[in-house]
């Protein structure tokens, strides 16, 4: 159960990050977002 909650949390934040990267206009901010996103994606796939 706790793993499902964890997955939902990470998934929610991942979508937020993707949405942020798409909307953001400044390149450097987009890049920063993507770097954080990589960590979240790896966590989502339980590669950590």
């Amino acid at each position: 159960m706790i793993q499902i909650i964890y997955h939902f949390l990470v998934l929610y934040l991942t979508f937020h990050l993707i949405w942020f990267v798409i909307r953001e206009k400044k390149f450097w901010n987009q890049l920063s977002g993507v770097i954080v996103l990589i960590m979240f994606l790896l966590r989502l796939l339980l590669i950590k």
């Binding site: 706790i2 798409i22 953001e24 990589i38 994606l41 796939l45 590669i47």
Partner: protein
Amino acid sequence: MKKHQATAFLLLLLAALVCFFAGREFLTMHEEEAVYPSPHLTIKKRLSDYFPGLKNSPGDSSVYIFEGQKMGGTLLILGGTHPNEPAGFITAVLLVENLEVTQGKVIIVPRANNSGFMHSDPQEGNPQRYSLSTPGGPRWFRYGSRLTNPIHQWPDSVLYVNPAGQKLSGTESRNLNRSYPGRKHGKLTEKIAYAIMQVIDNEKADLAVDLHEAAPEYPVINAIVFHENSAELAAVTLMTLQMEGVDIRLEASPPNLRGLSHREWGDFAKTRAVLLETANTSHGRLKGRPSATLIINGKDKNYMKAAQLGLLFVPFDEDGISLKQRVSRHLASLRALVSGLHELHPDLCIQLDNLPNPIEVQKVGIGPYLTPSK
């Protein structure tokens, strides 16, 4: 599509690529090294054959059984209880690949905590694997973690009350050597412990040996830790080893330290329980850069300094304490234990043929005793 959106998709693609390659590299940790059992192997089983609750789980692991023609004693050898203690694991592999048992029975579990082999300790910078050269080329082996993979058992509670009732810190719930006698419906590590107890029970092991390593600054090294039911056996073993020039010390298993193999195997399974420790530089906190070379040659400048300051419990010089020395020590101890068991209980004879000679292993290395990769 606006320019910033195009950049976003490009960057997202890049992130996906990074994830793919990083993930692929990460998942190589789940690969199991090849083990080529000796032609004298009687049967290969799995832990799940003894406890079906482990079937298809990352805790399931191979159990190699060598049975002699003549009746005798039964010996269980566990390697890889802690997958970051390679001498125990490699000793078990060497036995699986060389042994011939003509009397009695020997059961070997090289990867006792299989899940622990499938990850590395974060922030330790440990190598994922190390290679040993054999006449047919190098063979690689996994260097894992002391604890069960958190992907397989998560989250850790703040406090862990183990099956024997001892209160420990939460992370210890993933330590196989704190989880005995195990729980049938417990966490993965407890299930592994339960399965091992089933092996001891079903096979009626007369002697069970857990192979370990510890840091040179830890007081219990180059030691035989014994349950009180094996006190005489441990003393006889020590004397045999001293005659062979192997310096070793005795440590009694404290009855109030619960959940460990040398305590619960003896208390619950009533087998003679012994744990062997060697000194491993790559395991210690004082080491310099962790590397595969350090695992194999055990040389470290910091440890030399620590030895000069009298902080270590074993002699340590510029030659280090190599893996072949540590494996040789485990082999010599196992041989002495088996002969001690026979001396004290003549009906429990176990005849080990083709056991790699500890002195030769120290001289020529481990490689010549490993089967070249096929």
